[in-house]
């Protein structure tokens, strides 16, 4: 009984060590739980989208409006490439290549900015506003929600760029980049789904 209470107290003071192969690091678990909650948020917006489009049978988009599919497709390509560059950045620091990390993070940040600027530009040229019916509300809601996530991702990437410039991160310690990278991939996946459902289908 005494040993049990000692073990219990020790675990209460310090979380159990991450196991060699099976456990998820507690910081990574936090990121994953956060992303799960974000996925649920997107889910509620997609529910609104499917309700408007399938249940109410609203034309998508109704005449005379049109979605800029080509620009959105270019944005998709931009985000996909940025997923590759952030992966390359992390791969570089794991191999001790600091230049690769810096270049990868800067390029990813610039691609993210390009995406956001293109999207804002698209809003100005869309020809309809959020007040033009349910379809417009859902369109701006979904793409705007995603844009906000890109902004958060850019903030994380900016912090990672600053930390990298200050000499942070090493092949052994790079959790910040890892977490930001996972978040960025999540943003990318969400965009692929938004692009497919809202613009293409």
């Amino acid at each position: 009984m005494e040993s049990a209470s000692i073990a219990h107290a020790a675990h209460a003071a310090h979380p159990p060590e991450a196991h060699q192969s099976s456990r998820v690091d507690s910081r990574l678990l936090g990121v994953l739980l956060f992303i799960i909650s974000e996925a649920m948020l997107f889910g509620s917006f997609f529910t609104a989208y499917f309700f408007v489009r399938v249940v109410q049978g609203v034309d998508w988009p109704p005449e005379p409006f049109e979605f800029p599919v080509l620009i959105a497709s270019m944005n998709t390509a931009i985000l996909l490439v940025s997923s590759g560059t952030v992966h390359w950045a992390l791969h570089s620091i794991k191999k001790g290549n600091r230049l690769g990390l810096q270049v990868g993070l800067v390029v990813t940040f610039l691609l993210g900015v390009m995406f956001l600027v293109t999207q804002v530009n698209e809003y100005f040229k869309a020809g309809f506003s959020i007040e033009d019916g349910a379809f417009a509300s859902v369109f701006y809601g979904l793409t705007g929600l995603h844009g906000a996530h890109v902004f958060v991702g850019l903030t994380l990437l900016a912090i990672m760029n600053i930390r990298t410039a200050r000499g942070h991160f090493s092949p052994e310690s790079h959790m910040g980049v890892e977490a930001a990278g996972i978040y960025w991939h999540f943003v990318d996946i969400m965009w692929i789904i938004v692009w497919s459902t809202v613009y293409l289908l």
């Binding site: 590759g84 890892e178 996972i182």
Partner: protein
């Protein structure tokens, strides 16, 4: 239990899979129509389900990449048990081996937990219970002269074995369970999974705690007062 998204690399791979899966849907939507794209999406979902639940089961799992055995004359045994750690049958099986420094024992006690508590990392209680059982067996084995150490493992016993075998170059794996019909581990094919996963001899020890307790009670009743 292995989380499929444990790192940025896993997330990147998942991103590529999503992109590759949605590419044909996007193409069909642009070239033909939304209806055709939805049909492609449905086909992909069915294909994925078939791939995940039908085809994948036919593939034997890959052998674990373990630490190579040492050729120093010692016989190293990895013992995996939880509630049966206190069983006499397990104790007898281990004690039946030649004692002394020639046999090195590593006991792994999976911290059994509910799924909800596992996913929320609430495992202090499960680990404390497992620790208590483990310390009892270790103390007993050490008194008999065995070189025995132990650790708490993952709540999936096969994963716990793999974790331990990455650090401990065992020559044999000994799995202790309740009898068939009462053992949750046997219900989940622990022996078959261990034999598929590890290129090591696997010994199964059945511990019937209820029968051992009944026998102990009858011995106490029969002994002269």
């Amino acid at each position: 239990m292995i989380n499929p998204l444990r790192s940025e690399e896993d997330a990147f791979r998942f991103t590529l899979i999503v992109a590759v899966l949605l590419a044909p849907i996007a193409l069909v939507a642009v070239i033909w129509s939304t209806g055709a794209a939805l049909a492609v999406a449905g086909g992909l979902v069915i294909g994925l389900l078939v791939g995940l639940f039908v085809l994948r089961r036919e593939e034997p799992p890959p052998k674990a990449d373990l630490r190579p055995r040492r050729r120093d004359g010692k016989h190293r045994i990895l013992v995996v048990a939880n509630e049966t750690l206190s069983g006499r049958a397990l104790h007898s099986e281990i004690s039946g081996r030649p004692p002394g420094t020639e046999t090195e024992l590593r006991i792994v006690c999976p911290a059994l937990n509910t799924k909800i508590k596992h996913w929320t990392n609430e495992e202090d209680e499960a680990r404390a219970d497992a620790q208590q059982r483990l310390e009892g067996l270790l103390a007993s084995l050490r008194r008999e002269g065995f070189d025995a150490r132990g650790e708490i493992g993952d709540d999936d016993p096969v994963q716990a074995m793999e974790d331990a075998l990455r650090l401990f170059p065992a020559d044999e794996v000994m799995i202790s369970t309740h009898p068939p019909g009462r053992s949750n581990w046997l219900e989940h094919d622990i022996l078959e999974r261990a034999r598929e996963r590890f290129d090591l001899p696997v010994t199964h020890v059945v511990v019937d705690l209820a029968r051992e307790r009944a026998a102990a009670r009858s011995n106490i009743g029969a002994s002269p007062t």
